[in-house]
């Protein structure tokens, strides 16, 4: 990279016809800024400004209406939120549990399915289409569908359990079964995405290492553990990163199945649902912004850990 040096800046107006008007000369001289300006303005207007505004709101006691007068209260919201053991910390716990369990199952299951689909077989195309169906369904429709299936009285899930002699379960209605049930729905919907990513990674692997291992007499498991998996690791990390961030931010499934506040006992209230409730139900814009900023920091932190790990692995290779 360093061998290539940028050409030294041409003198002003160089290469421009003598009768070019002044503004065009100016535009020509500043073209790199001019061309980047729309993108910069876009980023400023739609990312930096809202983020900065949220940070500002989190330092005020804004509530009721954002246009109402609010006082600058420094870090008090942060202290309040971080010492809130009734709603904030349980929500952090639920967010972690939801993401952790869903992600783990999705990656393991996704890997298994991707390995099954890796080698060509009859009817492969149909199976692939069928597996991708949950992915293309809209999450709210998915939420409504599972809500009906899991209805404790008229739902199909309990009927099926009845056939095999198991008593009815409360599913989404239960105080302790609601979160696991929503995790199940998330797994059902998003495993296909992991399959898709891993399958793309698998098909791009070359066959030689596999063949070499086979000649050396490695078993199928050994080939997977010591050949396929290490080669596939960068793809796995990408899948974990994409799905992990998405799972952390899950809102639609939780909202469609349990409604505002994540249920009467806040059974499925994750950070995202909590922040939504703070701003749309309680009109506590200051507190809501604080939760969102903390949530944002958590996501950035996790992303940083994962990418750092990936870089380390790449460097080690």
């Amino acid at each position: 990279m360093s061998a290539v040096t940028a050409p030294s800046r041409p003198p002003r107006g160089a290469g421009v016809m003598p009768d070019t008007p002044g503004w065009a000369r100016w535009a020509n001289d500043h073209r790199k800024w001019l061309f980047a300006a729309p993108a910069m303005a876009f980023v400023a207007a739609l990312i930096i400004f809202p983020l900065a505004w949220t940070v500002y709101l989190s330092l005020t006691d804004s509530s009721g209406s954002v246009r109402a007068e609010s006082e600058f209260i420094g870090l008090r919201n942060y202290l309040d939120v971080l010492s809130d053991t009734a709603r904030f910390w349980p929500a952090v716990g639920r967010t972690a549990a939801f993401t952790g369990v869903a992600l783990l199952v999705e990656v393991v299951l996704g890997m298994a399915i991707a390995l099954l689909l890796w080698r060509p077989f009859r009817g492969e195309r149909w199976v692939r289409v069928a597996i991708l169906l949950p992915l293309v369904a809209t999450p709210v429709a998915v939420g409504m569908m599972w809500r009906l299936i899991f209805d404790p009285n008229i739902g199909m899930a309990n009927q099926v359990l009845g056939w095999v002699g198991i008593g009815p379960q409360p599913w989404l209605a239960g105080q302790h079964t609601a979160l696991p049930t929503t995790i199940f729905i998330d797994i059902w919907q998003w495993t296909p995405m992991v399959v898709l990513i891993l399958l793309a990674g698998l098909t791009s692997l070359s066959d030689e290492p596999q063949e070499a291992a086979m000649i050396d007499g490695a078993s199928a498991w050994q080939r997977f553990r010591h050949v396929t998996l290490p080669l596939l690791m960068p793809t796995v990390i990408v899948a974990v990163l994409l799905r992990g961030i998405d799972a952390l931010k899950t809102f639609d499934i939780l909202y469609a199945t349990k409604g505002r506040g994540g249920g009467s006992f806040h059974e499925v209230e994750t950070l995202n649902v909590y922040a939504y409730g703070l701003s749309f139900d309680y009109n506590e814009y200051g507190l809501s912004s604080t939760v969102l900023i903390l949530f944002f920091l958590i996501i950035i932190g996790l992303m940083w850990v994962l990418t750092a790990r990936r870089k380390k692995e790449e460097a080690a290779r």
Binding site: L34, G64, S65, P168
Partner: protein, 428 residues
């Protein structure tokens, strides 16, 4: 020079983008198009059918945005917060959002227009609903729909279990529900809302009928009174013992109504304004066996709520306020209110209740039940505060605790502390 012009260019682009984004919404001065935001409701269906008449009479055009209750709330939160002028008339819940909106100055002062219009006759409105749309002596909204709580019941199931009349008291309700449940496996004796916030309004009639209220005469939290503790234990106990099996604690009216109209419950306490859901054969399997009765009496008598559930207001940021008022004058006027009343939407005008035509279309037992509610009704069904959503969650906690079998009295004590703190916060 270089850096400054870059910043200048960027700013110009941002400004251009912002301006073009706003361009759609901001029109200077009044327009012939009135933009009205309404909720999904029988009232809205009826008014939409009548709209061409209004457009013909006034030469105005009405643009309706129709949303579900939650989406409507979110929409107002975003648009009114931003001071958007692209809503002229808004349908809102005076008891839920009224105080907050009025305090935030989202609602235009309609006092002058309302008093100035002879045909409109502001004095015709019932006092309680009108007081709910009045803020600091200013009329900021016009009540259009009122609701009273009544008892929905299944005539066939009562008859089968040998009951000749619906329950007169809460004790009888409990006894009849238990008997019917025992006689009909798979059918619950009773159903009603169970969601922490959703149940509060329907629970309120139980609370009043036991002799309690959310707040006492001196403005202190009162959900730990003996009456309140009994009401929580009764409501939760009835659902726990005689409610549907595996009861969810997330039910709002649509879920509870579904259980009732699918024939899976004998009794259901709910707002009368939703009765068409139970009597319409297309929506209900029990349309020909459903009956209505006044809210059963508790130790303090039968004291159901009688409240203005929806009102119309003008967005204070609207640039089209005089035409917006014309719409309200028509939609909440005497003629339309009577039409609505005849179509099954209880109105807030005295004249429509006094007019025999006004209740002629109601089922006879429903009309009788409403008469009782109007006589003894309490004018609120939730705490009268600014931040209603939070208050409902606090006073609703003992309901879900009672349903799930926890100690209702202890939960009421905890809720009362929380509610008092909330009231103190709000008073500051």
């Amino acid at each position: 020079m270089g850096r400054r012009s870059i910043i200048g260019t960027s700013l110009a682009v941002v400004a251009a983008m912002t301006l073009s984004a706003c361009g759609g919404g901001a029109d200077s001065g009044s327009s012939d198009t009135v933009r009205v935001t309404l909720v999904n409701h029988v009232w809205t269906e009826n008014i939409r059918k009548a709209l061409p008449e209004f457009e013909r009479e006034t030469g105005l055009k009405v643009e309706v945005t129709q949303l579900g209750e939650d989406q409507l709330s979110d929409q107002y939160n975003v648009k009114l917060n931003a001071g958007s002028s692209d809503i002229d008339v808004m349908m809102y819940r005076p008891l839920q959002e009224g105080r907050l909106f009025a305090k935030n100055k989202y609602l235009a002062d309609l006092t002058e227009q309302a008093n100035g219009s002879g045909d409109f006759d502001l004095a015709d409105f019932q006092a309680a609903p009108l007081s709910a749309t009045t803020y600091e002596d200013k009329v900021v909204g016009i009540p259009i729909i009122t609701e009273q709580q009544v008892l929905y019941y299944r005539k066939d199931l009562l008859e089968k279990s040998g009951f000749s009349a619906p329950p007169q008291t809460l004790d009888e309700l409990k006894a009849q529900a238990a008997k019917i449940q025992a006689d009909n496996p798979g059918v619950a004796g009773f159903v009603s809302r169970t969601g922490k916030a959703a149940a509060v309004t329907q629970f309120s009639s139980f609370l009043y009928s036991f002799g309690g209220d959310f707040v006492d005469g001196s403005g202190k939290a009162a959900v730990n009174s003996d009456a309140a503790k009994q009401a929580y234990a009764y409501y939760g106990g009835l659902l726990r013992e005689n409610g549907p099996a595996n009861i969810s604690t997330d039910m709002s009216w649509s879920e509870a109504m579904a259980i009732f109209t699918q024939g899976q419950a004998a009794f259901y306490t709910e707002a009368n304004s939703l009765y068409k859901n139970a009597t319409d054969p297309a929506k209900s399997k029990v349309s020909d066996t459903v009956g209505f009765a006044p809210f059963p009496a508790g130790p303090a008598g039968s004291k159901p709520y009688n409240i203005p559930s929806w009102g119309l207001a003008v967005n204070d940021a609207s640039k089209n306020q005089s035409n917006a008022w014309k719409f309200i004058e028509w939609a909440a006027g005497k003629t339309q209110t009577l039409e609505q009343q005849k179509a099954g939407v209880p109105g807030a005008r005295t004249s429509v209740w006094e007019n025999p035509e006004g209740i002629a279309t109601y089922p006879k037992d429903m009309a009788d039940a409403i008469t009782v509610s109007l006589a003894n009704g309490v004018g609120h069904d939730r705490p009268l505060v600014e931040r209603v959503a939070q208050a409902r969650e606090i006073v609703g906690q003992p309901i879900v605790d009672a349903i799930t079998g926890k100690d209702a009295a202890a939960s009421a004590e905890t809720a009362n502390q929380g509610f008092q703190k909330f009231l103190d916060d709000e008073a500051r």
